[in-house]
Amino acid sequence: MSNLTNLQVGDSLEEITLSPVSRMDLIKYSGASGDFNPIHTIDEEAEKAGLPGVIAHGMWTMGNLSKVFTSYYEEGFIENFQVRFSGKVFLNDVLTLRATLQEKNNETFSFKVNVSSQSEKVVMKGKVVFVTN
């Protein structure tokens, strides 16, 4: 297992590419999170809102992004997790989750994080501060 303390500035954590976004993914997230806004699950409602089809919950994508750090919870935890939603995610999009170490200061590791789709369009970007104290 990789160790956070061995990381150098500029190094990336192992990136994760998700299976194409499915309607079932979004139905499950609606149920698990309690966010039943129908633009995430029902085509007609998405169209009424002026969208070409259902879009993923931004929080589903953010929840997925946090997975990049899961294998490091034995070393510490996420103190700050900040993202900006910069693009819509549609069914069948293939998302890749990335984190790159930007700064390292004793027990604090700051990462640039982002999620991009198959066309390399960035749909979410932000910052994670992971602390090992």
């Binding site: 034995e74 935890f77 939603f85």
Partner: protein, 151 residues
Amino acid sequence: MMYKHMIGKQSNKVKNTVEKGMVKRFVESIGDPHPIYTNEEVGKKSRYGKNIAPPTYPRVFDYGVIEGLILPEKGLIHGEQNYHYERPLFIGEEISCYSEVKNYVEKSGTNGRMGFLEIVNYGEDQEGNMIFSEKMVTIITETVRKAMCYE
């Protein structure tokens, strides 16, 4: 300035339990079924001595109602989300949650005047220590605001 007068308003605290079954369902829904969340043995042996919840889990909590805050049912755009933790959430613990209108500004853009509503959710342990905060920036377009006024 539609929500300006709401700045500083808070909801009443609501006690929530970090329920194992809910966490299990949540981590499955984001494809993150790591044993640190739900396997008791793994939790006990971990640096926390118990199972934890993932960072975006507070989405599940009930934060009560901010009296007088009426949001459009449709057309809200989620702009930003920002979590801050003092420590991870533990499975089984009780967290008192509440919500506050932190800020509201309007800015002129290509689609008219956009409203930016900043709401912060807080979670405290039963001794009153802050465990996490969750800041959400919601964008409310002029079209959505106007539709709301005429409904």
